[in-house]
């Protein structure tokens, strides 16, 4: 193999996964040996039995059969024991590799999140990645062990056969190779091609099914149920017709496998009978040889499934290794400055940033000052670049041009974790973990005592509600906080941010997804709780902003206007226009301080 070929192989995602198992090679070898012993015991049982009765037919003394009798019984028991050992060993390796891959991928994701994971924003992709990681455990049990076992056991049988009759061994080897390599390869190829043909029909059908079910209300309201079903049936008929055409191709593997095995046994028998007549083979070993050939095909029976498994796992492994290879969105300094001390001042000058070179500028020359004790609100329509400012300050994203300084030193000269110790808060769409309220809060400060927890919860006006719950602080919140209302979820996130108590508190859209009443109440509480702190409040909701020290209005990556609420309204610029637009959507209870 040339050096280039070796390198190529090393880049193969399956190969890389295999390398993860290198520390476990002892266990892997044990699994393969046990598997080979299982198959060998099966073949041996039939071969020795064949020898036993052939020898018995010569009516020798009973002691001549003693060894064969013992061997037959031992092989009968050994097979089960070996099988048991093999399955345990293979599963053990699989789970160990899974743990390793999980930790590796987690470390990488932790480095990438969130800016490097923008392509995974849709939960589906992240979900798939997680199941890809889980799929790697099948690689060993179903993908790697069976071919190695087949090679060992098949090879052993052929060697035994060669000892008796060389041409028969050749026929057996050819048959095993055909059944174990050619037929699986051919049928995998054909099946894949058939699968590609049906992919389009399958996609069309899925679209119609989802459409019909998701749009059921509209279909009923407009009396269009029958039309939608007719379209669905059409797509279904197309897919079913293709599946029927593909059936012949898919069944080919089963037919060819059976044919190969049968023809090989016939060939071995033919050669054997010929040699017995010619004196090249004893009449007793003939039975053993034919029976061994018959049993040998068990070794390759698992291979078509293994081929399919390898193809599936390769796709999963490719997606996993792609994440492992992804470049860091943030450059960590080789020698970070000592951690910054609060209070902190942050200054952006001419800041430009984007998420990838092909994206438009998310920040396009932003100047912003954040000083201790000052509350600044960043407002603007969605996509104006507000959250990108937060991403830069939290060291989730590096600037492409301009400067960001923290207490006078370049932000990127600090370790990212050190920066986040002083700049923190509540990211957009804060995640609520599937655990208790207490654990979700304590995430912000694992060492926090009950008093601190209560104070933070009180600040977010969550305390009375928590104490009213039957399980109180130990109430589980469900996956994604499903057991909480939208308002409770946001308050929990706010309490968490208050508990962390960073020197600069960033609150990114803390009132998103809430209805107007809840929104107004939460905003009022939030402004009350953060009095006197350094806060960057990011929002597209303009309620109550007369309480902050400065408002910066963003539009297309730039700050287009800044000043106090009163100044900006007087100026009649973009802020006043935003306020006027929002005034068009008044809440039912009219609790809103609009000065127009």
């Amino acid at each position: 193999m040339t050096l280039a070929a070796v390198r190529r192989r090393r880049r193969d995602p399956l190969w890389r996964l295999l390398l993860f198992a290198r520390p476990l090679r002892g266990r892997l070898v044990a699994a393969v040996l046990a598997g080979a012993a299982t198959t060998a015991a099966g073949t041996g049982l039939l071969a020795v039995s064949g020898y036993l009765i052939a020898r018995a037919a010569e009516h020798p003394n009973v002691t001549a059969l003693a060894i064969a009798v013992v061997a037959v019984r031992a092989l009968g028991i050994g097979r089960g024991a070996f099988r048991y050992a093999e399955r345990l060993a293979a599963h053990d390796v699989a789970f160990r590799v899974l743990a390793d891959v999980r930790v590796r991928i987690y470390r990488r994701l932790a480095g990438l999140a969130p800016a490097g994971l923008r392509s995974f924003r849709s939960g589906d992709l992240l979900n798939r990645l997680v199941s890809d990681v889980d799929a790697t455990q099948d690689l060993f049990v179903r993908g790697i062990v069976p071919p190695l076992v087949a090679a060992l056991a098949g090879g052993g049988t052929v060697a035994l056969c060669a000892f008796l009759l060389a041409p028969a061994a050749g026929a057996l080897a050819a048959g095993l190779l055909a059944a174990g390599v050619v037929v699986p390869w051919l049928s995998a190829r054909l099946t894949r091609r058939a699968g590609r043909r049906t992919a389009k029909a399958r996609g069309a059908l899925a679209t119609h099914v989802v459409d019909t079910l998701s749009g059921a209300a509209e279909l009923h309201a407009f009396g269009a149920e029958d039309i939608a079903l007719a379209r669905l049936y059409e797509a279904d008929a197309e897919l079913t017709a293709q599946a029927r055409r593909n059936a012949a191709v898919q069944a080919l593997g089963a037919g060819l496998g059976s044919l190969t095995a049968g023809v090989t046994v016939w060939g071995v028998l033919l050669l054997g009978v010929w040699s017995v007549a010619g004196g090249g083979l004893g009449r007793v070993p003939l039975a053993a040889m034919v029976l061994a050939a018959l049993a040998a095909f068990e070794a390759v029976g698992q291979l078509p499934a293994a081929a399919t498994q390898l193809a599936e796992t390769r796709a999963a492994a490719g997606r996993v290794t792609a994440v492992l290879d992804a470049a860091d969105p943030v450059r960590e300094p080789a020698r970070p400055l000592p951690p910054p001390e609060p209070p902190v001042s942050v200054r952006l000058r001419g800041a430009r940033a984007r998420y990838s070179p092909s994206d438009p500028w998310a920040l396009d020359g932003v100047d912003l000052d954040l000083a201790p004790g000052r509350r600044v609100a960043l407002v603007g329509t969605s996509g104006a670049g507000k959250s990108t400012v937060a991403a830069v300050l939290l060291r989730f994203l590096d600037l492409d041009a301009g400067t960001a300084t923290l207490n006078g030193a370049d932000l990127s000269a600090y370790a990212a974790d050190d920066v986040r110790r002083v700049i923190g808060g509540c990211p957009q769409d804060p995640h609520v973990f599937d655990t208790t309220i207490r654990e979700n809060l304590r995430l912000a400060r694992p060492a926090a005592g009950d008093d601190s927890l209560r104070a933070a919860a009180a600040g977010a006006r969550l305390l009375p509600w928590i104490e009213s719950l039957p399980l109180g602080w130990d109430t589980p919140v469900g996956a994604h906080g499903a057991a909480l209302s939208g308002g409770e979820r946001q308050r929990l996130a706010l309490a968490r941010a208050l508990l962390a108590d960073p020197a600069l508190l960033i609150l990114d859209e803390p009132t998103a997804h809430l209805d107007p009443e809840t929104r107004d109440a939460l905003l009022a509480d939030l402004l009350a709780a953060t009095q006197g702190r350094a806060v960057l409040l990011i929002t597209h909701d303009l309620t109550g902003l007369d309480a902050v020290d400065e408002i910066a209005v963003m539009d297309r990556g730039r700050i287009v206007e800044r000043g106090t609420h009163a100044d900006l309204l007087r100026a009649g610029g973009p802020y006043a226009a935003l306020q006027r637009r929002q005034a068009g959507r008044l809440p039912v209870n009219g609790r809103r301080n609009v000065h127009v």
């Binding site: 059969l65 149920e225 069944a251």
Partner: protein, 590 residues
């Protein structure tokens, strides 16, 4: 779990023909297995007895024919099984989707978006899961969609491998037993005693390990969930400096899971051990027994060889069934879910006393009297003793916070929900007939795969191109449609991904214009639009309301300026708000 659900045969006719063909193929395979063993035994014994290839020519020539026939039956059996699977899947899929569509609006669990205090999470404020996959109705829609496509695909393995193997497991052992019994009674006895032990042990070991295995799978699922939860929450973890510490937790959790799983597997794999032992040990016993009898001259060599060749064949299909069982269970479970759903009775069509009941919305009041609606699993009614009279041409704006029952009120008017108590003036009209009088603009209009024109035409499939264009113009959609790459023929993309929220809303308004119905129902027509888009849609809605009876539900009080009458809804109860119509929000405060 039953190996073959009788409901499957009832629901899918294709399954019945298939079953007959499979039994025929199984019989053929059994016969060929016996023939192959007999030919092999004859050839080997012949050679042992000194016969040359020429003397054995017939046997040696017949063998490849039997081999070819076996291969052919294996091929044809699997091909026909896969074809049958395709047909069964198609039949189940069609029934499933049609049935769920029947159930969908009436069943309650697909309908309400405005339940509980969860705000507008997932944005499913509208009825019937039109709010996308994250809404409360979405999970079920998603589950059924998965079931109808990927879920049923797992039936391939069930039909192509498991059921044929099951047939073989019934036929082959009996045939082998009969032949072996004819040759050597003692061997037949050994097989006859051990054979039934295999299913018995399968069941015993299965029962013992099932509970533990199930708990294990549950744990596995939870751990998978834990990993996903942590990965999804990474940005939050990073903000609080907890991301690195979680790597250790993941390692610990996965390791703990491995230890727990291996402990279960050590027991679960015992089943395989026992089965393997039974089968191989029985073959070993037969071999030794027949060998010793042969030694004493009690049986000819050829017979002994035949018994030895056939003994493993008795166990093979039984063990194969066990191996296929787990692989095929996924398909059986999916089919079981489909059959369960098909067993849920569809709401019976409302009986019509007289098809020409006068429900002329233009001239008669549409009335609800004391209507109460309950959704299963919720203690408080979504609508409680609600009464409302909609006079011809009257514009009613219903205001109230999320979760108050606004969408449920529309569901009653749309007949998506049948009241648990109370009466409506339209209860006797056939549902389809009643809906013909309604144009509905949901909060999150659903756009179907297809062109823009197709989507507007949903409101009136017979409408010509001119009518569609007119409706689009009235809805203020003509401008952006003209700017699309292929105008009215532009595909809207998955769930209308190509269009903005405001544009989707305008398509829904165009549907309503095309529908041209006397009763107009609107659900939060501007709630999820930005200010500029909302202002435009507001004017269009104004145009649409002209000359129709209107019920508009919203939590946006500015709509009250356009109302003849304002009704407040709170915790499922309606109350009239006096003297606000046309004046805006002043008096609406509670």
């Amino acid at each position: 779990m039953k190996p073959l659900d009788p409901r499957l045969l009832r629901q899918a006719r294709a399954a019945r023909t298939y079953l007959a063909a499979t039994v025929a193929a199984g019989t053929a395979v059994t016969g060929l297995v016996l023939a192959q063993a007999a030919l092999l035994a004859h050839a080997i014994a012949g050679a042992f007895g000194g016969l040359g290839p020429a003397a054995l020519a017939t046997t040696l020539a017949l063998l490849p024919l039997v081999v070819a026939a076996r291969a052919l039956v294996a091929y044809a059996g699997e091909a026909s099984a896969l074809r049958a699977a395709a047909a069964v899947k198609s039949q189940l899929r069609r029934r499933l989707v049609a049935h769920v569509l029947d159930l969908a609006p009436g069943e309650g669990n697909l309908a309400p978006g405005d339940v509980g205090g969860s705000g507008d999470v997932g944005g499913s404020g509208g009825a019937g899961g039109s709010g996308g996959p994250a809404g409360p109705g979405g999970t079920r829609t998603g589950e059924v969609a998965t079931l109808a496509t990927r879920g049923l695909d797992a039936l391939d393995g069930y039909f192509a491998r498991y059921l044929p193997q099951l047939v073989l497991a019934c036929l082959t052992p009996l045939a082998v037993l009969a032949v072996v019994g004819g040759a050597d009674l003692l061997s037949a006895l050994v097989i006859a005693v051990t054979l039934p032990l295999i299913p018995v042990f399968m069941i015993l070991v299965g029962l013992h390990t099932r509970a533990r295995t199930e708990r294990q799978w549950h744990l596995l699922e939870r751990l998978g969930g834990h990993f996903l939860d942590v990965v999804e929450g990474l940005p939050t973890l990073k903000v609080f400096g907890r991301a690195k510490a979680q790597a250790k937790v993941i390692k610990e959790v996965t390791d703990a899971h491995r230890r727990a799983t291996m402990a279960t597997l050590r027991v679960a794999f015992l089943s395989a051990l026992v089965l393997e032992l039974l089968a191989t040990l029985a073959v070993a016993l037969v071999a030794v027994e027949i060998g010793l009898r042969l030694l004493r001259g009690g049986v000819p060599y050829e017979t002994a060889l035949l018994v030895l060749l056939l003994a493993p064949e008795a166990y093979l299909p039984l063990r194969a069934v066990g191996a296929q069982f787990h692989a095929s269970m996924e398909g059986v479970t999916a089919a079981g879910r489909v059959l369960d759903i098909l067993d849920v009775p569809a709401p019976g069509a409302t009986t019509s006393l007289d098809s020409d009941v006068d429900v002329d919305v233009n001239h008669r009041t549409v009335a609800l009297a004391g209507v109460t609606v309950r959704y299963p699993g919720r203690d408080r009614p979504a609508l409680e003793r609600a009464s409302l009279a909609i006079e011809p041409g009257e514009r009613i704006v219903v205001v109230g916070p999320s979760g108050a029952g606004k969408s449920t009120l529309l569901n009653v008017l749309l007949r998506f929900t049948e009241p648990a108590a109370g009466t409506t003036s339209f209860a006797d009209v056939p549902v389809a007939e009643w809906r013909r009088r309604i144009a509905w603009v949901p909060q999150h209009p659903y756009l179907f795969a297809g062109s823009v024109a197709d989507n507007i035409r949903l409101a009136d499939p017979e409408a010509g191109e001119g009518a569609v264009r007119r409706a689009a113009e009235l809805a203020g959609a003509a401008g952006f449609i003209a700017a699309l790459p292929a105008g009215y023929d532009t595909p809207v993309g998955e769930r209308g991904a190509r269009l903005s929220a405001g544009q989707r809303q305008r398509i829904a308004l165009a549907r309503a214009f095309l529908r041209d119905a006397p009763l107009l129902l609107l659900d939060e027509p501007t709630a999820h639009l930005d200010a500029a888009a909302a202002a435009g849609v507001r004017d269009t809605v104004e145009r649409l309301m002209a000359g129709r009876s209107v019920v508009l539900v919203t939590h946006d009080a500015s709509w009250t300026r356009r109302a003849d009458r304002v009704v407040r809804i709170s915790a499922g109860r309606l109350s009239e708000v006096a003297g606000v119509a046309g004046e805006g929000l002043v008096a609406v405060a509670p």
